[in-house]
């Protein structure tokens, strides 16, 4: 599988503000790649660099092995983009805008256009100024998904969509990937990312803090175990790799490092295991882990801070 997007050590400043501070991003062909980060962490800036709309101050960005700034037009024949904040010409209808963007990208499949308009329940005769935020988003989505572009760059594409439309969106994206296309998906809807994405990149303050498949990330994270035991669970606390143990009668809840799991499981057996529930970390937990210091004073009840991924390498 070849690499579709490759960013290395990207930097970008806007005056005194550092927007990107050595960001790395790699997206392989045929995957749905989740691009995560809190507001203002540099996701949209990265995407704008990938689109050749702005130039990085340092580092390299490559799209299909070419320079997104110098080869913008050639590259844009091979991608379709949905902006996070969809601004559409207020006096054009949704149908016209879909056709316009489609034609500019080298044509779109009329059957697919009709099908998508129907699936997304969009009225193509309305002027863009009369659309709600969600409907504007749908216009951009239909235009992108009805194209034949091998790469889709979606910047928070479901921000204004209702749950029903979100489901339609997810199904459609899975369909497009089944056709061998690649998707870069920036999103805050972690359940969506968890369902769709093969791999994710988490960034923070303009830097990449974690990248890999969810399975890989889980391997280096803690699993939460809840068990009922015949014996005294408190003894488990002494085992290496066990954290935050809480015992409530026969019931114990604790977190355990992936490497220690086998040893802990054996010990649980010795203690007379009756029931066992094991929850791998959710993406939300993985995500929040990287913002622990930002949340320390905050109200969010985040999972305990696990050792950083880097420390485990």
């Amino acid at each position: 599988m070849s690499t579709v997007i490759q960013c290395r050590a990207l930097t970008k400043r806007f005056g005194a503000t550092v927007a990107l501070d050595g960001l790395d991003l790699e997206v392989a062909e045929g995957e749905i790649h989740g691009f995560l980060g809190p507001n203002g962490s540099g996701k949209t800036v990265t995407i704008r660099i990938l689109l050749g709309l702005i130039r990085p101050d340092g580092g390299t960005a490559e799209l299909f092995g070419a320079d997104p700034w110098a080869d913008a037009v050639a590259l844009h024949r091979r991608l379709a983009y949905v902006p996070g904040d969809t601004n559409l010409w207020p006096n054009l209808t949704g149908g016209e805008i879909i056709d316009l963007l489609g034609q500019l990208r080298g044509g779109l499949d009329p059957a697919r256009r009709t099908e998508l308009i129907e699936r997304f329940d969009l009225d193509p005769r309305k002027k863009a100024r009369a659309y709600s935020k969600g409907n504007r988003q749908k216009v951009a989505l239909v235009a992108a998904l009805a194209s034949d572009a091998p790469l889709l760059i979606l910047d928070e594409p479901t921000a204004g969509l209702d749950p029903l439309m979100e489901a339609v969106f997810q199904d459609t994206v899975l369909d497009t990937v089944a056709q061998g296309r690649t998707v870069l998906l920036s999103s805050h809807v972690l359940a969506e990312v968890e369902r769709l994405c093969h791999r994710v990149t988490i960034i923070r303050k303009g830097r990449t803090v974690e990248t890999g498949s969810l399975a890989e990330m889980r391997l280096v994270s803690r699993t939460t175990i809840t068990a009922e035991l015949a014996g005294d669970g408190a003894a488990l606390a002494a085992l290496p790799g066990v954290y935050d143990l809480r015992a409530d009668g026969p019931r114990v809840t604790f977190e355990v490092d992936h490497e220690a799991l086998a040893a802990v499981a054996a010990r649980l057996g010795e203690l007379g295991l009756r029931t066992l529930q094991s929850s791998p970390p959710t993406l939300e937990e993985l995500f929040l882990r990287h913002y622990g210091d930002e949340l320390e004073h905050g109200q969010v009840n985040h999972p305990s801070v696990a050792p950083r991924l880097e420390a485990n390498r």
Binding site: R48, P83, N91, L92, E96, L100, R105, G106, P124, R129
Partner: protein, 561 residues
């Protein structure tokens, strides 16, 4: 239409002590509908704290130099007498300067009114059109109005606040005008009348725009309608003074200059203007209560479900986006041309009554009076088309700022192509509009004079200004390419050139200053013979500016707001 930046303005923060509206003071009552007007006024002032002083200072400054210059040139009744003898009774100038009240017994004040009043009133009118739209319809279009109206803000507060600030700005201009004029020894009563008439005419167009903002659904449309009313009023007043005085009294300009400053003031005309302003504002409030926020009174119809063959290409799309404004301008300049052309014969006929003046003008102009008048008319119209050229060339900046450009540039459309299609539309439409203004003038004059050849002559005469108009588009494109956030400064350039063009004589501006303006190089065809070299140079300059601007745009980051 720059959005407000920075922290939440204090004006919008509603303090906790604000009591909930009493049952009797709710939205239904008149007082309730004005809740938070004062806060909104502070917000408007805060947002325009740079823009407004620039407008006021420029207009007052222009008046100061005019008053000083007229005082030194025509400071005595004898000098004023000489002024009237040479330019005063010229009906051609009457169209652009005013009816010349007080020219039977000329005083320096009458000269001052003749040289400044209408142009300054036109400028305060423009200021008011922009200002009112910016804080009413443009605000609603941006959806910020929803945010504001969702707070404890009365239904009528936004319109009343916009009108209040516009009134304040016009008052500031009027006070400034009086303050800079009085020291040069002009009589007090006349000065106050002149200052008040300039301010009230400006505010009258603000009230007209407040109504326009209720009728049409877009900020661009409201400014277009407001400016069209302003332009139409200006043309009607000119024609009215030549042919049918009743027409003049249909326009705020007629009522404003009708106060007869320095010539036996008729103060009641100012009361007429005030009544017009009150009625306009009240209509705007009544209309605004009858429509939905964010919508105009004109209904929205569904459009095509599929794009036509034209719309799917960048050039076609750009034309589609500018079509409405080009069509509006086309009707405007064509009708103005027709009107100006139709009175060219009257100019000649009226001159027959005054052979001495005719001889004199013939000598200095070296051309027939009608030709001199027609040359002036088409030049005025091309100066106005310069406004279109700047607005149209700045369209690519507003498309960029609004984020629409991003959608196209993320498709396989190069920077070069996207920028170039906008420039092509601007250049072609500008040349077309200049030609149309000449065609209108030519048709009417050919009809009146029975000389069909005038049709071609006048169209060509107008086209002599086309390169200068294109230079304006070039300046705007250059700024767009290299300093996008400073691009609106091209309006300042146009304003400067217009002042140089219109005030060169009265201000006795040095020759080099008139040469700064591209319009200063245009031969006054048909009064003067053609000179092609300056036109070729202007054309090349325009091409270089446009090329330079597009080259800059290819190099820089996209800058959305």
């Amino acid at each position: 239409m720059t959005p407000a930046t920075g922290p939440t303005p204090a004006a919008l923060r509603v303090p906790a002590r604000t009591a909930p509206p009493a049952v009797t003071g709710g939205q239904g009552s008149w007082r309730g509908s004005l809740t938070a007007t004062r806060r909104l006024i502070r917000l408007v002032v805060r947002r325009d704290r740079v823009r407004l002083p620039i407008w006021v200072a420029s207009l007052v400054g222009l008046m100061a130099v005019s008053a000083q210059s007229i005082q030194s040139l025509y400071g005595t009744d004898e000098a004023a007498q000489a002024y009237v003898a040479t330019v005063g009774d010229n009906p051609a100038l009457e169209i652009f300067a005013g009816p010349g009240y007080g020219f039977d017994r000329p005083t320096p004040g009458a000269v001052l009114v003749n040289e400044t009043m209408l142009w300054l009133a036109l400028a305060t009118g423009l200021m008011s059109v922009f200002l009112v739209n910016r804080h009413t319809r443009a605000e609603e279009e941006s959806e910020r109005a929803d945010l504001v109206r969702s707070a404890v803000v009365g239904r009528h507060a936004p319109v009343v606040a916009a009108m209040a600030v516009t009134a304040g700005a016009n008052l500031a201009v009027a006070v400034g005008v009086a303050a800079v004029t009085l020291p040069f020894g002009f009589p007090v009563a006349g000065t106050l009348a002149l200052a008040a008439s300039i301010g009230l005419v400006g505010l009258a167009f603000g009230a007209a725009t407040a109504v326009a903002a209720q009728v049409v659904g877009t900020g661009r449309g409201a400014v277009g309608l407001g400016s069209a009313v302003l332009g139409l009023a200006f043309v009607l007043r000119g024609i009215g003074d030549i042919r049918a005085p009743a027409l003049s009294w249909l326009t705020p300009f007629g009522w404003g200059i009708g106060v007869r400053a320095y010539a036996g003031e008729r103060w009641w005309t100012l009361a007429g203007l005030a009544a017009f302003i009150g009625a306009g504002t009240a209509s705007a409030l009544v209309l605004s209560a009858r429509r939905d926020l964010g919508r105009g009174l004109l209904p929205e119809r569904p459009g095509p479900a599929r794009a036509g063959a034209l719309t799917v290409h960048p050039l076609g799309l750009t034309w589609r986006l500018q079509r409405g404004s080009v069509m509006g301008w086309a009707v405007g300049v064509f009708v103005a041309g027709l009107v100006y052309g139709s009175v060219a014969d009257d100019v000649e006929a009226m001159m027959a009554d005054n052979p001495q003046l005719a001889d004199y003008l013939q000598q200095i102009a070296g051309a027939s009076l009608a030709d001199a008048y027609l040359a002036t008319a088409v030049q005025m119209l091309s100066l106005a088309v310069g406004g279109f050229a700047v607005a149209s060339a700045l369209r690519n900046r507003s498309e960029e700022a609004a984020g629409y450009a991003e959608m196209l540039l993320a498709a396989p459309v190069s920077r070069w192509r996207w920028g170039a299609v906008h420039v092509v539309v601007t250049l072609v439409a500008s040349v077309g509009l200049v030609a149309l203004s000449g065609l209108g003038t030519g048709i009417a004059y050919a009809q009146a004079s029975g000389d069909a050849g005038q049709l071609g002559t006048m169209t060509l005469a107008a086209l002599a200004s086309a390169p200068a108009v294109l230079v304006m588009a070039g300046i705007a494109t250059l700024l767009f390419g290299w300093a996008p956030r400073a691009a609106p400064a091209s309006w300042a350039a146009l304003a400067l050139f217009a002042v140089v063009q219109l005030f060169a004589t009265v201000l006795r501006l040095p020759h080099w200053m008139t040469l700064l303006s591209p319009f200063g190089h245009v031969p006054s065809v048909p009064a003067e013979p053609w000179r092609l070299l300056p036109l070729a140079v202007l054309g090349l300059l325009a091409a270089a500016l446009v090329g330079g601007g597009l080259a800059g745009f290819r190099r820089r980051d996209l800058a959305a707001d």
